[in-house]
Every structure is written in structure tokens, then in C-alpha cells.
Subunit: 136 residues, 4 copies
């Protein structure tokens, strides 16, 4: 299993008249979570894209348990529990500064050749790094 | 069943370097879809909120089948297939201008008392309108 | 002078804990305003971009006079008062459903060759349409 | 003069089909910049708001010199050069990881009583902290 934690300070712009973080914004936080997970393990999504591979989102599901508020300091935990092939499933847990679980999520992406827009296996450097992490 | 269609012209700001509508933006389109469904049936989310009831999102799941691009003219179809009680399930289908199905979604909200932040039944005027629609 | 009006229903996601439309969102409304002005006069920003010309924003200034609220029906008036050359200045006035002026803005864009990222004159079809409009 | 620097890693969601950070997003970065400036000097915008004072934006102007790209590590420098009274002018300079100046901005906010929506002087604790900073 690969795991990473990202801290996010809730910006004013992300909250709504209920005072809550608007639910659409967690989708952006999750994207930041997986970019930073990649970076922490020596991968860079920008490099992947420049090598001709894109990673569109195939599905997402989020369960909201508790709201976040302006200025909360969130911890977005990102997990990869299964070794990725054509698809990668990212799982998420978001906590606030009091350790309260705010939501959980599953987001599935795939590797896709930029030119052909066809799904593909991960590029060799990505596959190798991930494979080593899963063998530990 | 209650059904409503909303047209949305994809703004430049909503698209990403892949040229696709960024997946977080559909969550906002779905919110607009249910606001306009409510309006079409004589309800107004703003009035509901001013009467002391808020409607937080409990869960959402989206399956992405095809991307939308800048300037596409989308049709967001919003459905309520089950008579709402404390919870309301909105189902969605998004199509582009060629009739291609882009994604499907289910988003569950609940009615909540603003003061107590406790889940509650819909206010009487909302319940009555919805109930009549489901008896047709 | 070229002028165009666009109606925008304020989405919940665009409002903040003050109940106001968050100021960053007007920047997106203005972008929609100029896209629809272009369309109304037979131009399409998507076509311009596909012809190899992009239009980055060089500067913007906005004066906020009154707030907009959730569910307000805004009218974004977009004006081009000077015949565009390499640069195009869009001027804006936003009104709410009561005719109250909410803000004014000036946003300057330029035409830029996608390949070279150098500023350039508008493509011939754009130049011709605009020129005819200014000669009326 | 009060000065503060905030680092922002550009998220994928904030970039557009040109590959550039969409210009509306800088407005959100600037908001984060002033929140963190406040925090660095012992003030907290959330506390200010909870004490019954809000800070709406009166005007903004931004000059864009160079674009930012996905995954760039930006430095948003926020300055207060004049001692605030009813109004506070925040000035900004955004740099990328190569030290290139990307844009400059001026954003003017005011202090406003939440109840009456009338402009007002800053609350005493805010006034005192700022005043001491300007006397140094």
C-alpha cells in the first residue's frame, strides 16, 4: 500500500453560504492529494503528461460525513491499495485539525495515450517505481 | 418520476490542459441542474434556505464515459425517481450537443435544520409539491 | 461600439459565507460575456483558437459597487468601444435583476500566435467582421 | 510596510487549454496571500469575521506579464504599504520558481460591520497590531 498525507488550509473562496467547504472543492483537493503522493515517491504528473500519457478520471465517489469550515487545516490522506495496471484507484480520507473524519472517497483514473486517447499501461518508469513500492 | 433538462455552454475556465472539462466542474453543473429542476416545479432553493432549511450533500458518485470540450453545449438531465423523505436522491445524465452520453451521476442530499444542523423532513410546502408530482 | 448582454443565474457554488458572489467569479462571468459577444457577431472563440490564435488576458480591473447574492439573475453587459488591433479592450457592467449596477470592469486581451506565443494582429476573418461593425 | 510571501503549487484544475493558469485563479491566490499575511502578524481573518467585521473587496487590478503553468511553484508576495484605515490596499507580486515576475496586482478591501453592512474602522485589536507594525 502507498500512502501520503497533504495539509490544505481551507480558503475563503472554497466555502459557501452554509459556511461549509462546497462539496465540489474536495474533488480539487483530492487531485492535489494524488499529485503530491506521486511527487513524494519520485514521480511527477507533469513529466508523465509530457511523456505523452494523460490520466483522465473514470469515476469518483465521495461520502460526506462532516463539513469543513473556512480556515480549517485539513489533512487529505491518499492511498493506493492495489497495484495499478491500466487503471489506478486512489482512496481518500479527509480529516480536520481535530482529527475528525470529514469524508472518504474513491477516485479511479486510467493511463491514456495522449495521441490516440486510448487506455494504456503506465509508462515504464512509473510502472517500475510503483512495482517496487508494492513489493516492499 | 420528476425530470428536468438544463443546457450549459462550457466556459473556457472550466477546461483543463487535456482540453477536457475538468471533472470537478460537473459537480457544479449538477448543482445547477437540481436548482433548475426545483424552479421548474415551483420550488426555489433560496426560499427553502431562507425558511431555515439547508440541503447539504451526503454522497456523490459520478461515472465519466466521454469528455466534454470548451464551447460544447451540454444537456444536464436531472431526475428524482424516488419520493424524497429526509433524503433526496438526484440522478443525472449529461449529454453533449451530438447526443453522446458523457457521464452519469447520483447525488444524495438531505434536508437539515439550519439552527440545529439536524436532518429533518422537507418543509411542508416542498413536501406537498413533491408529493403531488409523484402521485401523477 | 459593439455591445452584448448575457444573463447569468448565480449558482450556489459561487457564493461565499458573506452570502455574496465571491469576487473571483466575476472574472469567469466576464469571460463568458466576451465569448457570447463574439458568438452574437458571428465569431467563435473556439474557431479562433483552432486557427492557431490564442487570446491571453493582459490586464483586468474591476470596481465592486454592490454585491450579488445566490440565485440573483445577473445581466453582464460587454462592450468593445475601440476598434481592436493587437489588443482588444472589453468593458463590462454587471446589473442584478432590479437594475442595480453591481460592478464595472475593463479587461484587455491580445491576439497571440499559438506556436510562437508572440502578439499578432487578429486573423483576417475576425478583423473583417469587427471592422464592419465599427464602420456602422 | 508589511510584507509576506506565500508559496503555491499550481494545481491541474487551475490551468486551461493554453496550459496557463486561468487568470481568475490568481484572484484566489491573492486572497490566500492576504489571509497568510494576516496570520503571520498574529491576526486571523476568521476571528475578525467572527467578531462581526467582514472585509469585502472594493476594487482589484491585475497586470499579467508572464503565464504560470501546471506544477509551477509560485511565490505570491503580499504587501501593505500604507497604514489601513477604513480601507486596506494589498499589493501583490507573483513570481515563478525561476524568479520570473508573472504579475502585479492591487486589491482594495474595506472593513464592514456585518450587521449593518456599513464600512467601519478596523476592530481595536487589528488596528493596534497594524499600527505597531507601521511604527517599526
Amino acid at each position: 500500500m502507498i500512502e501520503h498525507s497533504l495539509n490544505i488550509r481551507v480558503p475563503y473562496a472554497d466555502t459557501d453560504p452554509m459556511g461549509f467547504v462546497h462539496h465540489a472543492n474536495y474533488v480539487r483537493y483530492f487531485e492535489n492529494g494524488r499529485a503530491e503522493l506521486f511527487r513524494a515517491f519520485g514521480l511527477n504528473y507533469k513529466d508523465i503528461e509530457e511523456s505523452g500519457i494523460q490520466m483522465p478520471v473514470l469515476s469518483m465517489q465521495v461520502k460526506f460525513l462532516n463539513p469543513a469550515f473556512y480556515d480549517d487545516l485539513l489533512t487529505v490522506k491518499t492511498f493506493i491499495r492495489e497495484e495499478p495496471r491500466v487503471r489506478v484507484k486512489f482512496e481518500y480520507e479527509t480529516y480536520n485539525q481535530h482529527g475528525l473524519l470529514l469524508n472518504t472517497a474513491e477516485i479511479v483514473l486510467c493511463f491514456m495515450k495522449k495521441e490516440t486517447k486510448k487506455a494504456c499501461f503506465p509508462p515504464e518508469n512509473v510502472r517500475k517505481i510503483i512495482s517496487e513500492l508494492f513489493q516492499k
